[in-house]
């Protein structure tokens, strides 16, 4: 009886999480109401939308640049925090931790004010800065938790054998962290591709991105084309998550 309640509760929760997504994907393959049946026409319409290709390209560019830089900075920060004792180490650690729950909205606004003051025109650079700052703490926390599992005697052995800090990082730490680094990069990539709030403040009309484009479409109502677009994004996210999880599991 107990087991029965448990299973049905889990089924209900998963249904709550997945039925809306499932319905959305199903609708994207249906013809418009008077007719019924399977169709790929909504996907074909998407392909013919020139704006969509431009904004998707923009989003891709920002996501690749931001997640790469955030992963480099975040990994270095995690390694530094774990390996060295230095002035303000605890402050840095707490600052990165607090940034995780720091509201995106306030981050977006404060960067908007600051970059406006520095006369940065809103566009690619401002958005990339915003996304790097958004992703940085996530990378540090992810890499840090992986570093905790590594055997630190490996680093000491490297040092005893005369390796410099740079060599230890390059030859010992980075190869061991590689799965976590790939995972972190993929997570940053999805964060950047999906971000609405920071993009909302930090980019201008000359550099529109995918989430904002979808937002402007969705405000006008439900259409089969948006269903198709959202389905594509969902599957791309799904593949990225599976790769990231698979890399982590292998270890």
């Amino acid at each position: 009886m107990n087991k029965y309640i448990r299973s049905s509760y889990l089924v209900l929760c998963y249904a709550f999480l997945y039925v809306p997504l499932f319905v959305l994907i199903t609708y994207s393959f249906f013809q418009a109401p008077p007719q019924t049946g399977f169709t790929m026409q909504w996907y074909q319409t998407l392909w013919q939308d020139p704006n969509l290709l431009v904004v998707a390209g923009n989003s891709l560019l920002v996501a690749v640049v931001a997640s790469t830089l955030a992963t480099v900075f975040g990994t270095l920060a995690a390694v530094v925090l774990r390996r060295y004792r230095f002035l303000g180490r605890q402050v840095l650690s707490n600052a990165l931790f607090s940034l995780i729950i720091f509201p995106d909205l306030v981050l977006g606004i404060s960067l908007l004010l600051w970059l406006h003051l520095l006369h940065f025109p809103l566009g690619f650079f401002t958005l990339a800065i915003g996304h790097i700052t958004l992703c940085l703490p996530f990378v540090t926390i992810m890499i840090n938790s992986r570093l905790l599992d590594l055997d630190s005697s490996l680093f000491e052995a490297g040092r005893d054998l005369g390796a410099s800090e740079w060599t230890i990082l390059r030859r010992i730490i980075l190869p061991l962290l590689l799965p976590a680094i790939i995972g972190a990069w993929l997570m940053c990539f999805t964060l950047s591709m999906d971000d609405v709030i920071i993009s909302f403040f930090l980019t201008g009309p000359s550099f529109n991105v995918l989430p904002l484009y979808i937002y402007s479409l969705v405000r006008l109502g439900v259409t089969p084309e948006i269903n198709a677009l959202c389905s594509i994004i969902f599957f791309v996210t799904l593949i990225l998550i599976l790769i990231a999880q698979w890399r982590v599991r292998i270890e």
């Binding site: 509201p103 004010l113 405000r219």
Partner: protein, 283 residues
């Protein structure tokens, strides 16, 4: 050794520099801006004033705060009520399928919340699946007007934030020592007592993490009320967004967003005070 120091200081300082340039300076500027004057033709003028904070204390804005806090509170409570048993039952699954089922929580966690909010619209709209289903089984005759109500906003927020509750609770409960529960049972504790005296206290840090990950987003995800309807000034986030982009009153917007950082600081303070350092990594 010299080269090692160069490497060490270069990495430390580059991280510091980034945080100072793109987190601390901008945030300081928000604090400064909240004390500046606003004129219709300029975003802000470099003249000191307390007017923005006086505006915050007017009934209109106090009502916005109160409503937003209330909403965030109920969304967090609902998420915990749904998510806590969810996470607990997940940990009790056989280890073969546990990883897979956890993955099914991770997927929505990382899926765009804009996309997920849109998915909710397709379900609850007048001719959506929910109404069709309810009419078919005879619960209602007329479609329920759910979309564009405050209920829709709550559904949307709970739907979006549920994985953010389940995942920290799940990773916290995984570390729970089952023997303690068995011991309590052996010593004659019944179900509710075991839960209240053993399980709940031991999963406290997971609950705190979950609250931190839901409460603030529930005040700031401005596109959810915007898309799902209800009063457009339901969340503090909507009011702030309007001040920055439509009303173009940056000083007032800054003062409003500082109240969010105050809420955040209170949550963090509470978290750091009540969670031992060893458990903090769970977040």
């Amino acid at each position: 050794m010299h080269k090692d120091n160069v490497f060490k200081y270069l990495t430390i300082n580059s991280v510091y520099l980034w945080l100072i340039l793109f987190s601390i300076c901008p945030l300081t500027l928000v604090v400064i801006c909240s004390f500046l004057q606003h004129t219709p033709d300029q975003l802000f003028v470099w003249k000191f004033t307390l007017a923005n904070y006086k505006t915050l204390l007017t009934p209109i804005y106090l009502k916005v705060f109160w409503r937003s806090l209330q909403l965030a509170f109920w969304v967090t409570v609902l998420c915990l009520i749904i998510g806590y048993p969810f996470a607990y039952f997940l940990t009790q699954l056989p280890s073969k399928i546990k990883g897979l089922m956890a993955l099914f929580v991770i997927i929505p966690f990382w899926t765009s919340s804009l996309l997920r909010s849109y998915a909710i619209i397709t379900i609850i709209q007048a001719h959506g699946l929910l109404n069709t289903f309810l009419i078919k089984i005879g619960v209602i005759d007329q479609p329920l007007q759910l979309l564009y109500t405050n209920t829709a906003v709550i559904i949307g927020l709970v739907y979006n934030l549920l994985p953010f509750v389940v995942l920290p609770l799940f990773s916290n409960m995984e570390k729970l020592d089952r023997r303690l529960i068995d011991a309590a049972r052996d010593l004659g504790a019944n179900g509710p007592t075991t839960f209240l005296r053993i399980i709940l206290p031991l999963t406290k840090s997971g609950i705190y993490s979950a609250i931190m990950l839901t409460f603030l987003p529930a005040m700031t995800l401005f596109y959810i009320p915007d898309l799902l309807g209800g009063a457009k000034s339901l969340l503090l986030g909507n009011v702030i967004q309007t001040q920055f982009l439509s009303a173009e009153n940056w000083p007032l917007g800054s003062a409003l967003s500082l109240t969010l950082t105050v809420v955040m600081s209170l949550l963090l303070w509470f978290y750091f005070r009540s969670t031992p350092r060893s458990e903090r990594e769970a977040l």
